[in-house]
Amino acid sequence: MGWAVDMRLLSILLAGALFGAGVTISGMVNPMKVLNFMDLFGTFDPTLIFVMGAALVVTFIGYRLVFARGKPFFDDQFYVPGKGVIDARLIAGAALFGLGWGLSGFCPGPAVASLVFGYSQGFIFVAAMAAGMLATKFVLARRT
């Protein structure tokens, strides 16, 4: 059984490495490049369309093959959310995220990946993002 556990964790490590390499090679670790994608009427850089498009095509096809198998290789079930409703909380959260993304050029994955380049702004962003997550989790937990 020890072997199965190791293969699971090794696969997860490799998945993380592919993700980190993907956001780095695509240029998403550079906030200026991401903001230029959003700047349709200025210094527009369409690269992010190719990143999202390629990622979506691979994931769409790959997920179908994986789900058709019935269960993951090293676990008993798929942990995917059921069909939820589109509620005010989802829309408000997505809008807030869009605002922060548009102000900074950073979304969470590339922000963490950018830490390896050692810029103080990256560390400041990730620390502030962690604080925002903790504060929001705290408020959400108290409301229920």
Partner: protein, 144 residues
């Protein structure tokens, strides 16, 4: 604002790697490769079995970014749109937004859309539109 070079090949390659990451994580462990949820799940004192796979994914992400960054990327091209104060504010907003909205570019924009989730489609449209409007205002001002 600084123009960035349109890099469709690097963008496509990076997107393919992100897609492979999402498919591998689902195939091996049945988990969604959503950067914000994985990162946020580490911000807890409640040490459980989830901590290990999330920590290993994040470790892999940093390794992948470091290795690919060292091989392919000129880290000096990374530039930030604003000073530390705006970086803190936008980090807090991103952290709050992805926690409220249960996901970011990877979880909703790639994994959720690939599962044809209507919640993820709605979230992706909202954060994309808000991000584009935010850049329109910060770079061009309202009405010019």
């Amino acid at each position: 604002m600084t123009a960035t070079e349109f890099t469709p090949w690097a963008g496509t390659l990076g997107g393919l790697l992100i897609g492979l990451s999402a498919v591998l994580l689902m195939a091996a462990a049945g988990r969604i490769a959503g950067a914000s949820t994985i990162f946020s799940g580490l911000l807890t004192l409640n040490i459980d079995a989830q901590m290990r796979w999330r920590g290993i994914f994040m470790l892999g992400l940093l390794l992948g970014a470091a290795i690919s960054g060292w091989l392919f990327i000129d880290g000096s091209e990374i530039s930030f749109p604003s000073g530390p104060a705006m970086t803190i504010v936008s980090g807090l907003i991103v952290g709050a937004g992805v926690t409220l909205g249960n996901g970011c570019t990877s979880g909703h924009g790639i994994c959720g859309m690939a599962r044809l989730s209507l919640r993820s489609l709605a979230a992706t449209i909202v954060f994309m539109v808000v991000a584009i409007l935010t850049v329109l205002v910060t770079r061009h001002g309202l009405g010019g």
